[in-house]
């Protein structure tokens, strides 16, 4: 993870000889010789400076939207968040033209769905990662690994359509919170598998060998030695994965319609969430009450996601696998 830093002396005496590395010998071979020629050297120095400027500019360009987005959301959404009503009331009975109400229904929905998703996705993902790292050999392991990659790339809308095709079309169930959870599981599993896999690979083999030498069976070694060693890394992966699925909207559009009242039952009725709350009023942005609510919900969502990210990074910092 830590970028390898390269010390670069500003200038080095041009040595003789041809470069031993670098697949474009034609380009480099001339370079050392050229440094003797003044105009040519100036061109190289200029190009070097230009490259440096371009890199800094690219970084600034990448940061601009981040700053802009955060500024927009914070400046437009923060005042509603400072009202206690936002955290204690739902939108029940409040039309989009009227001010007031809060987001507690949506926050609750997002948290419940996130927790349920994690409860299903984490065991499956961690076990899959254990399989890939500790057991996986041969064809099956390669297929599993490939499918995890494919799952990583599945667009959220396709995951939602798939769950719709099973849940609603095939079985004829209603669109409830649990259907949303199922589609979010599809999106969370691959990210947790990948991060857990990385962490398990970091566990030194000496630990496993020491455990086997003491006569501990393999499964106990994994449960008591390998997984605890990698624990903080796994938690980080879970938190980052959770942050991602909580911000997902596409499955909610198809499987989890919005409602303005508090709903905590995953298996009956519609369940409001922060993304659907934003989506609900997006065509009413001309109404100041609705616009305020949309931005405040957006800010709440960002805060929630950033909080999870921050927690993930803190866990990673304070409990990384020690070598």
């Amino acid at each position: 993870m830590t970028p390898l830093r390269v010390e670069t002396p500003a200038s080095k005496a041009p040595p003789s000889g041809t470069p031993s590395s670098g697949p474009r010998p034609g380009a480099t071979a001339r370079a050392p010789l050229a440094s003797a020629l003044a105009p040519r050297a100036r061109g190289r120095v200029l190009r070097d400076h230009a490259a440096r400027v371009v890199m800094w500019a690219a970084f600034a360009l990448a940061l601009a939207p981040l700053v802009w987005i955060l500024w927009t959301v914070v400046s437009k959404g923060s005042h509603l968040l400072l009202e206690s009503q936002w955290w204690t009331h739902s939108q029940r009975g409040i039309t989009s033209r009227r001010e007031g109400g809060g987001a507690v229904h949506a926050i609750q929905g997002t948290l419940i769905q996130g927790a349920a998703t994690a409860a299903i996705a984490v065991p499956v993902a961690v076990l899959t990662a254990v399989y890939l790292v500790e057991y996986g050999r041969g064809k099956l392991a390669r297929v599993v690994s490939f499918m995890v990659d494919i799952l990583t790339g599945i667009p959220s809308i396709v995951a939602a359509l798939f769950v719709y095709a099973i849940w609603v079309t095939t079985f004829g169930f209603q669109r409830v919170g649990f259907a949303v959870v199922l589609s979010l599981v599809l999106l969370m599993v691959p990210t947790v598998v990948r991060s857990t896999e990385e962490m398990l690979k970091l566990v030194p083999n000496e630990l496993r060998e020491a455990s086997y030498a003491l006569g501990v069976p393999k499964w106990k070694t994994i449960v008591k030695v390998v997984l605890p060693t990698a624990f903080s890394g796994i938690v980080t992966g879970v938190l980052l994965g959770l942050a991602r699925v909580m911000g997902e909207t596409a499955p909610l559009l198809i499987l989890g319609p919005y409602t303005k009242s508090i709903a905590t039952d995953l298996f009956a009725g519609y369940m409001p969430t922060l993304p659907t709350m934003i989506n609900q009023d997006r065509n009413e942005l001309a109404q100041s009450a609705a616009a305020d609510r949309v931005w405040a919900a957006a800010l709440t969502l960002i805060l929630l996601v950033l909080l999870l990210n921050l927690a993930g990074r803190l866990v990673a910092r304070f409990g990384s696998v020690k070598k």
Binding site: P3, A57, E134, I154
Partner: protein
């Protein structure tokens, strides 16, 4: 596949892997626990495989009846009327918008993302490198619905002058000809997608750039290469496969991005004039499906949208599979 449990996967270094016989335990509970745990782990792996297969199978199964009733050519028609006794729908327009917007996104995100990755690994002062990487990752953490909201309200007005300028100067070229669309154009969708996939390009490129063998780097510098020449002759060639696979993964994400695009797109009226212009409106696969989520009331309608989703699934599947192959090749190459 081997029946015997073996500790290390192919990824950890093989020589230190303990012999399988070591992991056995003479106590009966050990063996039994082993079998159960192995079954659980293997079962989860198989579950993942089954899930992906099921996604393909179910989408196909639901799409086929609707496709059979489709009275227009699914691949080459621009129409989209899915209800009634004579449904006529095709994906040509969706495909054009989706692919064009994604290509624009890649054209912007790839160079900028690679430059940012180079900045983080090669140029940034030591104290800045880590926070810089964290900030770019933060861009990936912002939920896509926020991008949509920001794109529509804040970014679109600021971007409009650029489109006007391009249309003024290059309007003779069909891609840049002026249209009456004032909402989100394909061009604008591309720019927003570029911002969204930039952190993916950066994160993966950063990782491969950081792995450039030190000997290559030092060799280039010792031969008198400037910093930029060193990067051009060692870091970039070494990282190329990684960058390619990063680009493919980012492309997959751009193709399937839903809610941000749904916020931004301007839907075209049915039967409107075909235009090559990037400043035209139009929907992507994902936004067409999301925009009409309320219409899923009959199997025929649902099937039509699912068939669009199936095409999207196939597109992203292919793109991701190619990325995977490139990564595998590189692994084989560098070991």
């Amino acid at each position: 596949m081997s029946r015997l449990p073996a500790a290390a996967s192919a990824a950890t270094d093989a020589p230190s892997a303990p012999a399988p016989s070591l992991s056995g335990d003479r106590a009966g509970t050990g063996r039994y626990g082993d079998r159960v745990f192995r079954g659980l782990a293997g079962g989860s792996g198989i579950l993942v495989v089954a899930l992906v297969t099921l996604v393909g199978v179910f989408l196909l199964w639901q799409a086929v009846p609707a496709l059979a009733r489709d009275e227009a050519s699914f691949l080459t028609s621009r129409e989209w009327s899915v209800s009634g006794a004579h449904p006529r729908f095709g994906i040509l327009e969706l495909l054009w918008t989706t692919v064009t917007a994604s290509v624009i996104a890649m054209a912007i995100a790839l160079p900028v993302g690679v430059c940012v990755a180079l900045f983080i690994t090669q140029y940034a002062p030591r104290w800045l490198a880590k926070p810089a990487a964290g900030l770019v990752d933060l861009l990936a953490a912002v939920p896509s619905i926020i991008y949509g909201l920001w794109g529509v309200t804040a970014f679109r007005p600021a971007e409009q002058p650029l489109e006007d300028l391009l249309a003024d100067k290059l309007g003779w070229f069909p891609l840049f000809s002026r249209t009456g669309i004032s909402g989100g154009t394909i061009f604008f969708i591309g720019i927003v997608l570029a911002i969204m996939v930039l952190p993916i390009v950066t994160a993966l490129s950063r990782e491969v750039f950081a792995q450039t063998p030190r000997a290559h780097v030092e060799g280039a510098l010792a031969l008198g290469a400037t910093h930029w020449e060193m990067i051009r002759t060692t870091v970039l060639p070494f990282g190329r496969p990684g960058v390619i696979s990063a680009a493919m993964l980012a492309l997959g994400r751009a193709l399937g991005e839903t809610i941000a695009v749904t916020f931004i797109v301007s839907t075209l009226a049915p039967g409107s004039q075909w235009s090559w212009s990037l400043f035209n409106g139009g929907e992507t696969f994902a936004s067409r499906i999301a925009n009409n989520a309320a219409e899923f009331d009959s199997p025929q309608k649902t099937g039509a949208f699912i068939s669009a989703g199936l095409v999207l699934f196939v597109l992203t599947f292919v793109v991701n599979a190619v990325a995977r192959v490139v990564i595998e090749r590189r692994k084989a190459f560098s070991e």
